[in-house]
Homo-oligomer: 411 residues x 2
């Protein structure tokens, strides 16, 4: 197996979706209803279910069913076997006659929700983001809540409204309290985006038994990009004391491509020094580096408005997994846990409009000459990301996009 695709594919070694990446998606081809599992190589998608059927029938069950669900459940051995097999096929010139009919141009397919989302949890792991939000929403108070440096705090979101990139997002209606104290119901006036990294659980855990942080790779298959759309006015009025609910539950968008953790080995980094020593089950001082050097780009109507760095996140995915299960809560195949908004220290590294515009007070200038405090109807948000790959290459994580549609009239 080489690390370059066979010449007939025309995918150079350094392509962000070269053989060092190989993310998976669920796709449909025009005129067919049933979805298939595909693997991305360059700007094409290989029907990996059909390929396995021809070349490795033993692997076929893992990629059957039209989504990544069975692959996720197959566990590290299945993940590794399939990944090796696919890289081998795509680098073997002799397989051109078999594979070429199974390769589709990306523009010719529709990408669907890649897996069945079981439970969706959203964390709050960027110290910059949490501090910014505290300063903006609770001025005069300590920006971080007292628990923040002791645990990766999080909450359960709505799994049923996780949608794939490209799905329009209808502006939600809800209650908010106006500055004069009146409670009004109407379309949100403060629709926001949140750029996040999502971790996709493959292997379930036993109810009642915590998962140690060192076991993350035994359970987590890979990552996707997440836009955790937020209605800030709804959220501000509802969130005490039970947390975010309708301000978030209307839609959460995910990228169609799930990048295996195996493709992110070269992107591993040590997380920043912790201000407070974490308790034992969260202590990763002697563990392999838990951070990922994933570099985000947030585009609003084509203007790059931010480049948030994931490498500086205070809490790692391994710590989040350990925390999520320390009470014995079990994992299921398809559980999705997201990092929380990725924000860095710089003014051009903020992962939400709440921060980028200081709660709407300092509108952003866009390249088309307009400006934005929060999202307007018709706006398109694209969150894209890359990470360092092996040998100086880049790993593409693709993008998650969504366009805002006007609120639905009640009735």
């Amino acid at each position: 197996v080489t690390d370059a695709a066979a010449a007939w594919l025309g995918v150079p070694r350094e392509h962000p979706f070269g053989l060092h990446n190989l993310p998976y998606a669920s796709f449909t081809v025009p005129g067919e209803e049933a979805s298939r599992v595909g693997v991305r190589v360059g700007d094409a998608v290989l029907d990996v279910a059909a390929a396995a059927g021809s070349l490795a029938p033993g692997l076929a069950p893992v990629v059957a069913g039209g989504t990544l669900d069975r692959l996720l459940a197959s566990g590290p051995a299945g993940w590794q076997q399939l990944r090796s097999a696919v890289a081998g096929w795509l680098s073997d010139p002799a397989l051109q006659p078999v594979l070429e009919p199974l390769v589709h141009r990306l523009d010719d397919v529709r990408l669907g929700l890649p897996f069945t989302v079981a439970d969706y949890v959203d964390f709050y792991a960027s110290k910059h983001h949490a501090s910014n939000v505290g300063r903006i929403l609770r001025p005069g108070q300590e920006p971080l809540p007292p628990n923040w440096k002791h645990m990766p705090i999080g909450y359960h979101g709505r799994a049923g409204t996780v949608v794939v990139s490209g799905t329009p997002v209808v502006r939600p209606t809800g209650q908010r309290r106006e500055p004069d104290g009146r409670v009004v119901v109407g379309p949100t006036a403060r629709l926001d985006l949140e750029a996040e990294l999502g971790f996709v659980v493959g292997v379930p855990s036993v109810h009642g038994h915590p998962v140690p942080l060192r076991h993350m790779e035994q359970h987590v298959f890979g990552v996707c990009l997440v836009n955790d759309w937020s209605a800030r006015d709804v959220q501000a009025w509802e969130y005490v004391p039970l947390g975010p609910f309708l301000g978030k539950s209307f839609a959460t968008s995910v990228s169609p491509w799930v990048v295996p953790l195996a493709a992110l080995d070269a992107a591993r980094v040590r997380p920043p020094a912790r201000d407070v020593p974490p308790p034992g089950y969260l202590d990763d001082a002697d563990a392999p580096p838990g951070g990922f050097d994933v570099r985000f780009e947030v585009r609003l109507n084509g203007t790059v408005v931010s480049r948030p760095p994931f490498a500086g996140m205070y809490w790692t995915a391994a710590q989040q997994l350990a925390h999520l299960t320390v009470n014995g809560a079990s994992l299921r195949t398809g559980d999705l846990f997201a990092s929380g908004t990725v924000s860095g220290a710089g003014p051009d590294e903020l992962g939400s409009l709440l921060e980028l515009t200081t709660n709407g007070r300092e509108p952003l200038a866009l390249d088309d000459g307009t400006s934005r405090s929060f999202l307007e109807d018709g706006d398109e948000v694209v969150v894209a990301a890359t990470a360092p790959g092996p040998g100086g290459r880049v790993v593409g994580l693709g993008e998650v996009s969504g366009r805002v549609q006007p609120a639905v009239r009640p009735g």
Copy 2:
């Protein structure tokens, strides 16, 4: 169709599980793995999937699959057809030869999780409970948060740890802050119960489109009992600002029997007068009565410690459904939303130990001579309920039980 079971069944007309009730469960018989859909009559369960196969093949798909999932999805027409058919079969003496082999004694079967839980939402709809919690946890402050009378506040719980009655509950481990400010990790010292009523969604809704409160019966199939186990020390330390998370996510128990809303017609009551006029989408002044006169009983190691009345709940299930979807969040088959702790005004009507013992300061005396502030290892909690049925009869809602097991040692 009469309202009495055929004589061969030996179920008197006034039995709480007579033909006016007919709740459904998922059950297995000894020696078999596959579960079946059953309907309860008296102290027996009819294999309704097998019965439909013989007597009404057109209905068989609705009760196939071993759980209530397909029945839930079949919608009001399917619910009504099956309910009428079952009542007809069970009251027809001529069907004894067909049905008798399909009836199992309740003691001979195992009852499973009745349906696949999609999203789980927990509300906070008792004014007495929310006020009590405010007084206990935030003394000196206004007991109710400012939003409480404007909307039924709630949060998403963990669907993957919803378990059926009888499942042991392992004492969760977690972080808490001691009165001296130290943060410690260990088994919860304040394990609590919460008696609640759960509403089970059958018919999905369209993403982006709110469900008006008057449409509740088009979406909600029925109710189950819920014990929303809570680790109060974990919850108190973690819940600001993102709400309850690990203090709840370790386990939520539900009763095996799902009682159709159709069995609760006689239990409908007007909710109490609202202190603040709710906004339009929550205004039920001209709607059919949204409350249910469900009467709870909470037993701890056999001692009845409380009899919480559901009739006095401030927010109704129809309002909760309207609120849950006002932002366009969609419903899925199997969504479960629970009322929040059911507490009445009286000291013997409180649905949690937090309230019954004033946060542990006033322990409860049990019949065995011991006392409890919070739950100890080995304790068994049973939450049972009944409601008024037609013609002076009683509708049994069964019970949800669980026994506390010692914490799992880390490692």
